[in-house]
């Protein structure tokens, strides 16, 4: 029983990190209909910037903030310099460009930081919390709390504020939104900035959780998060969050707890194939006409 709860909590923590990553991807897909593979590169940059900032300042909050700011800039640069000029082409053109950016970022990380696995200093060892029979690791608390706060803030911005309303309008019908006075170019940049800042948080949290930061750390998440947004329903943000949490839990329970002899990373793709077969619009996606 205790083992099961620990796996559950671990699954929730991993799932919420997936959710942070998949969110940005779902937001970008929703607004530009681009599969933003390079998002995982932005996430790796976030992990590196967070690590270096943490080494310099010894503060988790400063590390997160600097990583978010840096990634927001990187995300907006990718959007302005690459995607926006390519929007008039068929969707595979920006997709290929995105893969190229992703590979370039991996190489850039390798050149700048070296091909090693870097770790967060042990100083971040956090107290654990015991609730009855359940013991929560400090890392898990950190990951769960941070993710929860970020998810709430993002939900608030996109659901309640005027800029969020403009984001919804832009993603539903860009030309119509312009006709209603929405500066859609600006809204697209804001979307990239927000999504990329959230990816930075995911990068830092993964770096801390697994104590590993390395140039190709984005490779598996790049494809896994694509599977997540497909399972959730392309473009559906609540769907992406739900699919991410379910995947985290499924990985922990099926592979970790039940010890099914499958590679952990295969689960996302099995789920994607099943979804394609029985519910192509995804968990919370709308049927396309």
């Amino acid at each position: 029983m205790q083992l099961l709860t620990e796996h559950l909590i671990n699954g929730l923590a991993v799932g919420s990190i997936y959710a942070l990553m998949a969110l940005g991807l779902a937001m970008v897909y929703g607004i530009l209909r681009i599969l933003h593979v390079a998002h995982a590169g932005v996430y790796a940059i976030g992990a590196y910037v967070g690590l270096y900032t943490f080494q310099a300042t010894d503060s988790f909050l400063v590390a997160i903030a600097v990583a978010m700011a840096a990634c927001a800039l990187v995300g907006v640069a990718i959007e302005k310099l690459v995607y926006y000029p390519l929007l008039k082409f068929p969707p595979y053109v920006p997709l290929i460009a995105s893969i190229a950016i992703f590979l370039s970022i991996e190489e850039l990380c390798r050149i700048v930081a070296g091909p090693y696995i870097l770790g967060f200093p042990r100083r971040l060892a956090l107290d654990s919390l015991t609730l009855g029979p359940v013991s929560l690791g400090g890392m898990q608390i950190l990951v769960l709390l941070t993710s929860l706060v970020i998810l709430l803030v993002l939900w608030f911005i996109s659901d309640k504020t005027e800029v969020g309303l403009a984001m919804q309008a832009t993603s539903q019908d860009m030309a119509m939104a312009s006709a209603m006075g929405v500066d859609t170019k600006r809204i697209i940049s804001i979307t990239f900035a927000l999504g990329s800042a959230v990816a930075a948080v995911a990068g830092v949290l993964v770096g801390i959780y697994y104590n590993q930061v390395y140039p190709t750390m984005g490779a598996v998440p790049a494809y896994k998060t694509l599977a997540i947004i497909v399972v959730g329903g392309l473009g559906s943000i609540p769907g992406a969050v739900l699919a991410a949490l379910l995947l985290g839990l499924a990985e922990a329970l099926l592979i970790g707890y039940a010890a099914i002899p499958l590679p952990r990373d295969a689960l996302a793709f099995i789920a994607m194939i099943i979804v394609f077969m029985i519910r192509p619009q995804g968990l919370l996606g709308k049927k396309t006409r």
Binding site: E162, V163, L165, A169, A175, S178, A179, G181, D183
Partner: protein, 254 residues
């Protein structure tokens, strides 16, 4: 009798829009006076919607100029033309289907602030916005559907919603692109009443209309386009008896 150039909301001067070899709009000039309803009519493919798209900033003109209330607007992005006071509806209705009817209207209310993340960070669903949006819905008779998703509305109601959204911009000029098409006889009558009421409130309207009966009875003046060029201009009576217009619509007699 107004002097030429006096109190014109919209001035279109020698406007052309070509797509490759196709002259969708070619050297067209006309103007809209403050407070009037001007109709833009013509056979299919005459260039009416392209005219709207250039005026509202979807396309830049290939040549020529467009002035709104005296200042030049051609070539500006669509959102700044909307912000300067051009509200439009589309021939094929385009609601934000995932939003409520009320939120659809609210999108237009935030328009002065969308340039900045900080300025547009307040909550949109405040009592001031709600009150304003409800007033526009009242005006078009959709107040009872305010909280329904826009995607469930009938075509007639969607056309009303488009009107309410365009009004929310507080426009100097309303562009209505075939707001009557696809409506039943009865709905057409009610929509005509609504458009007249909006004009009486002081709005200036430029509309594209296929239904001649509607265009003739609503508009004070008509501009007739054919093959991208201006064929005729005048009161409904003048246009009705114009040889060239009759020819364009009915074909040349043998």
């Amino acid at each position: 009798m107004s002097m030429p150039g006096e109190d014109l909301i919209l001035r279109v001067e020698k406007m052309s829009r070509h797509f490759g070899g196709l002259k969708a709009v070619d050297n067209v000039s006309f103007h809209v006076r403050r407070g009037e309803i001007l109709g833009l009519i013509g056979p299919n493919g005459a260039g009416k919607t392209t005219c709207f798209n250039v005026i509202s900033g979807v396309y830049r003109p290939t040549s020529g100029q467009v002035f709104l209330d005296g200042s030049r607007i051609d070539g500006l992005p669509a959102h700044s033309i909307a912000a300067r006071g051009v509200g439009r509806t589309f021939q094929i209705v385009r609601p934000f289907g995932g939003m409520t009817v009320l939120n659809n209207v609210m999108v237009g209310l935030g328009m002065p602030r969308y340039g900045s993340f900080i300025k547009s960070s307040p909550l949109f669903n405040n009592s001031k916005n709600r009150g304003q949006a409800m007033a526009f819905l009242n005006e078009v008779g959709l107040e009872g559907l305010a909280d329904s998703p826009a995607s469930i509305l009938s075509l007639g109601n969607l056309r009303r919603l488009e009107l309410a959204r365009a009004l929310a911009l507080g426009p100097k000029l309303l562009l209505l692109d075939e707001s009557f098409s696809g409506l039943s006889q009865e709905e057409v009558g009610r929509m005509m009443g609504l458009v007249r009421k909006i004009q009486e409130r002081g709005f200036t309207i430029l509309l594209i209309e296929h239904n001649m009966r509607v265009a003739m009875s609503l508009c004070e003046r008509l501009v007739v386009l054919d093959h991208g060029g201006k064929l005729a201009e005048g009161t409904p009576d003048e246009v009705r008896s114009d040889e060239k217009v009759i020819e364009a619509y009915l074909g040349k007699g043998e």
